[in-house]
Amino acid sequence: MDCSSSLDISLNLNTNAFDRSFPAKLPEEEVKVSTSAGVERKWLVKDKSASELREELNRVYSENKKIKEMLETVCEKYYALHHHLEKLQSRKSPGIDHIEQPTKKRKQDPEDFLGFPNGKTENSSSNQDHHHQQYEQKNQLLSCKRPVTDSFNKAKVSTVYFPADSSDTSLTVKDGYQWRKYGQKVTRDNPSPRAYFRCSFAPSCPVKKKVQRSAEDPSILVATYEGTHNHLGPNASEGDATSQGGSSTVTLDMVHHGGQRLATEKNERGMMQEFLVQQMASSLTNDSNFTAALAAAITGRLMEQSRT
């Protein structure tokens, strides 16, 4: 409600200084207009004496002044209440609905806030203090709760880039976990669709991932992981894709050279594997025990075959 537009009391009137004792005259429950104003009077009778007219004019002036005072006070209270309501509404958060109850309790006693005279509040200052303490406590609770909910809702997000065959349209990446695909959609910024997966390695695992080909380089699959696995990784070598965070997250400018980089890495990894195989073969052949055992095994196998 735009109160400022509907409640403009500035009528360019010659107002005098107000007596601020007005709120004491307001009723306890609701504000009601209790003046006799509103009755339209037309002074068309000319036969009244000037003194009577002056007297009546003075009465109307005082009534005018009184109405202005009331109007100003009610407007002030209205704006204050409006601000209070706005503050309360801005405080509202979907995650903390259960704490709303105590705040409403405070709301049930708006006279405290409004400053209107109320026998109950005047006579029970200890109760008011108690309510105030409760209100403060709830506020503290609210202020403490909010960051917790915020941090809780803030899921860990990491991005991993995988090389992909351009002919493969399955949008699956081998990160060691089991994933259940639950959706796919086409995005505006990318010609290839985006697939949505949920970790099915553990029943209550909250981790989700989105997989989409890179718009810059379609030979790269970009997997975005959200959340943290609530279970151990499939095995040590495969590791936790989401926990690789820093190492696996590649910035966007690297995407331009991503294909070349990944190809180099692949070559290096292949060379390393070949080297390891060669080293293992040479160490085994150099081991005389192993050679003898192997020879015995082969001989035994040949003997068995010749018998059958």
Partner: protein, 39 residues
């Protein structure tokens, strides 16, 4: 002339009072609506 001036002034102030009273009624109504909303 003094009497007519007084009558004119009385009519003006009365009309102003009426306008102010209407505004006050409206403000009170809005206020009470807001108050009920808070409760």
């Amino acid at each position: 002339s003094t009497t007519s001036a007084l009558v004119d002034e009385l009519n003006r102030v009365s009309a102003e009072n009426k306008k102010l009273s209407e505004m006050l009624t409206l403000t009170c109504e809005n206020y009470n609506v807001l108050r009920k909303q808070l409760m």
